[in-house]
Symmetry: C2
Subunit: 140 residues, 2 copies
């Protein structure tokens, strides 16, 4: 734990699923309100600092987040990224993309090309995401 | 194979390592000449379209690329991303980052903040990358 790290000192979003290894949160990012973050429970800098088996378990959670978003929302494309230049605590961005979102086909970190796509992130949708993640990860 | 796909019709960079599953290439990206790409041999759209065991094997190659870059170059941070909005053929960007590179700490897809870091990508360095990848993946 590092006191100054936002992912050590807060959940970093609304927790949709959690186990001892990581949590999956709805980050409510501007332009991309359905971006999920998969955040390691411990303050680890790089994926290659983790034992191989732990890396593999974390990635299965990232892919479950991808699959839950695909099944519920049928986006045009899924984007996955582990950057951490600002917050060097392993976390993955799992981002559903649509042709009419603010940045498509550019990465979400480029300059917006149009207004944000209208996306309703209501409690029924959040409940379906929680349920789908729980099912996909029930044997994880 | 999709004829119009650049990763089906070309290597997409200088091949440093290859097996039946994927290749690891030096992409020579502007601003980030040591960006490696791990490109799936087949035209597959999303990671979650792959069987779990194949996903895991591909990720071990991504993490080997990360580790080779860390061991040889000691960058400030490693960035990993699978986007594919323009070329929907599974490929991973493995990007060594330095505090004085053109974009740090922003993602490499944001607007450049300063001139590129000077990085010499000569044959001795490429040979060491090939050798390190071969060693790391010798039992893959």
């Amino acid at each position: 734990m590092t006191v100054s790290c936002v992912f050590c000192s807060s959940d970093g979003g609304e927790v949709l699923w959690r186990d001892e290894l990581c949590r999956i949160v709805l980050a409510r990012e501007e332009h991309h309100p359905l971006l999920l973050r998969v955040i390691h429970a411990r303050h680890v800098r790089e994926m290659s600092d983790l034992p191989a088996a732990e890396r593999a378990r974390l990635m299965e959670r990232v892919f479950a987040a991808e699959l839950a978003l695909r099944e519920l929302l049928a986006p045009e494309k899924l984007n996955l990224a582990s950057l951490g230049n600002v917050v060097p605590h392993v976390h993955w961005h799992v981002v559903p993309r649509w042709k009419d979102d603010a940045h498509f086909p550019s990465p979400i970190w480029s300059a917006p090309e149009r207004p944000s796509r209208s996306l309703v992130v209501d409690e029924p949708l959040r409940a379906r995401l929680r349920e789908r993640l729980a099912t996909l990860l029930s044997s994880a």
